[in-house]
C-alpha cells in the first residue's frame, strides 16, 4: 500500500521499505542520524498517513468507548486527547491508540498494521450501541511535525490562529496555509509538536508549505541550527520514540502482553469509573506479583542490541537480588528475557534497549548481558526514559 505522499518521497531521494504492508520512507538522503538530531534541535516532518484513524459518533459514542478501551473518557473534556489501549478478554493488548475528543465526535488514531483488525474489532463490539464508526483514511492525510521549532513553523502558516498557544494533548481545527486541518498536539518523538489531519487533496501542497515555512534561526545556540523542518523517515521515528521509551506495538506489546508488565497502567488505564473489555482480567492480574517486567538497559560493553536478542543473567555472577533458591534457573548466563527494541541512540551516544526480563532482574542497577552473535555483552538496567527533551515549557 502507498500513502498519499508516496510520489513525493520517491521524487525526493527517499529510501523505501516495507512496513506492515506499506511502502514507507525509511530515510531521505540526509540519513537517519541527521534526521533524528534535527527533530531534537529544530523540527522534522513525518509521513504517518499509513496510520489508521476512525471517527466515532452517535448518541452512545461515549458509552461505547468506555466499553472498548481502557481510559475513563468521561473525564476527557472536548478538545483534549489521551493515550489508551484496546484489550482482549484476558487483558492482552489488541492495540495502543490515541483518543481525541472533539465537540460532537471522537477521533481514534490506531496503528497502521492493526487498522483492519481494530476496525473489525470495534464493529463487532458496537452491537447494541447507537454508534457510527467511520474510516477516515481515504478522505484525509496524516502527517506529524515534531520538534522545538514546530510551533513557530506552523504558526507562521496560520496567521490569525493561535496555533502556538495550544497546550499538550489537545485537538482543535485551524486554518493552516489556507486549508482547514485538525491539529493534534501529540506525537511519537518526545518533543513538542503536532499531528496534522488534513484533507487528502491538499496534502502535498501542505506538506511542502510546512517544509518551506521559515522560522527564525535559533539565537540561543552558538552555531545556528536550521529552523526549518527536515523530512524524516521511519528510522528516525523509531530512534526518537525509543530514546523516550514510547512503546511500539509488536515490540513492547502484543495480544499476549498485559499493560501491567508493559508498565502502561498509569499512562493508559483507569480501572475505576468504567467497565471495559479486559478489566476483570487486569484486576485479577494486578493481585499477583509480576513475572516479567519491561525494563530499559544500557550497554556497558559496546554492541547494538536488536529486537529478539536474548537477555541473560550476567556471565560469571549471580544477579543482585536473585534468591539462593533460584536453583540455577536464573544462574550465570541463563536466559532471563528478550530484547524488544535496541538502538544506538544519537542524542545520548549510547547503545540502549528495552526488553522484558524476569522480575528478580528488573531493578535499576541490575547487571545483565545481551547475547549478540553468540557472545555475552554486558549491560545494566537503567531508569526510563533514556532522554528527556529540554524543550517543554
Amino acid at each position: 500500500m502507498r500513502t498519499k505522499l508516496h510520489d513525493w518521497h520517491l521524487a525526493h531521494g527517499a529510501r523505501m521499505v516495507d512496513f506492515g504492508g506499506w511502502d514507507m520512507p525509511v530515510q531521505y538522503e540526509t540519513g537517519p542520524r541527521e534526521e533524528h538530531l534535527r527533530v531534537r534541535e529544530a523540527a522534522g516532518l513525518f509521513d504517518i498517513d499509513h496510520m489508521g484513524r476512525v471517527e466515532v459518533s452517535g448518541a452512545d459514542a461515549e458509552a461505547f468507548l468506555q466499553h472498548v478501551q481502557t481510559w475513563d473518557v468521561s473525564r476527557l473534556a472536548p478538545g483534549r486527547a489521551h493515550y489508551s489501549l484496546l484489550l482482549n478478554d484476558s487483558g492482552g493488548v489488541v492495540d495502543d491508540i490515541f483518543i481525541y475528543r472533539r465537540e460532537s465526535s471522537w477521533l481514534l488514531v490506531i496503528n497502521a498494521a492493526n487498522a483492519p483488525k481494530d476496525i473489525a474489532w470495534l464493529a463487532a463490539h458496537a452491537v447494541g450501541f447507537q454508534v457510527y464508526i467511520r474510516d477516515l483514511r481515504e478522505e484525509t492525510c496524516l502527517a506529524a511535525l515534531q520538534g522545538p521549532a514546530a510551533r513557530e513553523i506552523l504558526q507562521a502558516l496560520a496567521p490569525g490562529s493561535d496555533v502556538a498557544g495550544m497546550g499538550f494533548h489537545r485537538v482543535a481545527e485551524h486554518t493552516v496555509a489556507g486549508a482547514r486541518v485538525v491539529l493534534c498536539t501529540t506525537g511519537y518523538t518526545g518533543e513538542p509538536g503536532f499531528e496534522i489531519l488534513m484533507p487528502a487533496r491538499e496534502c502535498t501542497r501542505l506538506w511542502e508549505a510546512v517544509l518551506e515555512a521559515g522560522a527564525r534561526p535559533s539565537s540561543r545556540t552558538g552555531t545556528p541550527v536550521p529552523r526549518r523542518a527536515l523530512p524524516c523517515g521511519l528510522a528516525a521515528r523509531d530512534s526518537l520514540r525509543a530514546e523516550v521509551c514510547l512503546p511500539l506495538y509488536g515490540n513492547e506489546m502484543d495480544e499476549t502482553t498485559d499493560p501491567l508488565a508493559a508498565g502502561l497502567m498509569r499512562a493508559a488505564v483507569r480501572l475505576e469509573g468504567h467497565d471495559f473489555i479486559g478489566r476483570r482480567a487486569l484486576a485479577a492480574l494486578a493481585l499477583a506479583p509480576l513475572k516479567r517486567i519491561l525494563v530499559g538497559f544500557e550497554m556497558t560493553e559496546p554492541g547494538v542490541p536488536r529486537h529478539g536478542y536474548v537477555i541473560a543473567a550476567p556471565a560469571g555472577r549471580k544477579a543482585a537480588g536473585a534468591g539462593a533458591g533460584g536453583a540455577g534457573a536464573s544462574g550465570a548466563g541463563a536466559e532471563i528475557g528478550k530484547v524488544t527494541t535496541g538502538l544506538f541512540s544519537p542524542s545520548t551516544g549510547k547503545y540502549l534497549g528495552m526488553g522484558y526480563v524476569k522480575a528478580e532482574h528488573s531493578a535499576v542497577g541490575s547487571e545483565v548481558s545481551i547475547i549478540i552473535r553468540d557472545s555475552h555483552k554486558a549491560a545494566r538496567i537503567v531508569e526510563r526514559p533514556f532522554y528527556t527533551s529540554p524543550h517543554w515549557r
Partner: protein
C-alpha cells in the same frame, strides 16, 4: 547517489577493498557499500593474530537498519586493526578509503589480490547493480 571509486585499490564483488603495501594489505569497505549501509553505528573487527580466509565472513558492520557481514577479500593473518572505529564507527561513512579502514593483514598468498577487480572493473560492476 554517485559513489567514489579509489583508483589505487582492488575490489571484491562483496564491496570490500584491498590496498597492498609490501607483503601486507589494508582492508576496508567501498564508498558504494557505506552509502548502501548509511549511518554506521558499530564495527566488530577481527582480533589481531586471527587468520581470515578469502570469501569467509570475518567482521560485522552494523548500520541503523541491520548487521551486515564483511567477507575477507584475501587470506591472511590480522596484524593491526583500526581501533578508532570503536569510538567513531562513522569514519567508515565519512572516509571509507582512508580513516575508515578496518584491518591490516599479512598476506598468505599475494596472488589472490590479482583475482580482485581493479577500479575500472569495479566501476562497471557497481553500474550494473
Amino acid at each position: 547517489m554517485d559513489s567514489k571509486v579509489d583508483q589505487g585499490v582492488r575490489y571484491s564483488k562483496t564491496h570490500e577493498w584491498v590496498r597492498v603495501e609490501g607483503g601486507e594489505a589494508v582492508i576496508g569497505i567501498s564508498d558504494y557499500a557505506q552509502n548502501k549501509l548509511c549511518d554506521i553505528v558499530f564495527v566488530e573487527l577481527t582480533a589481531v593474530g586471527r587468520e581470515m580466509k578469502v570469501g569467509a565472513a570475518c567482521m560485522v558492520i552494523e548500520s541503523v537498519k541491520a548487521a551486515e557481514e564483511v567477507f575477507a577479500p584475501v587470506t591472511g593473518t590480522v596484524t593491526a586493526r583500526n581501533e578508532a572505529l570503536v569510538k567513531t564507527p562513522e569514519l567508515v561513512n565519512s572516509d571509507p578509503f582512508g580513516k575508515g579502514w578496518l584491518v591490516r593483514v599479512k598476506l598468505a598468498s599475494p596472488s589472490e589480490v590479482n583475482a580482485l577487480m581493479d577500479a575500472a572493473a569495479y566501476t562497471s560492476f557497481i553500474a550494473t547493480l
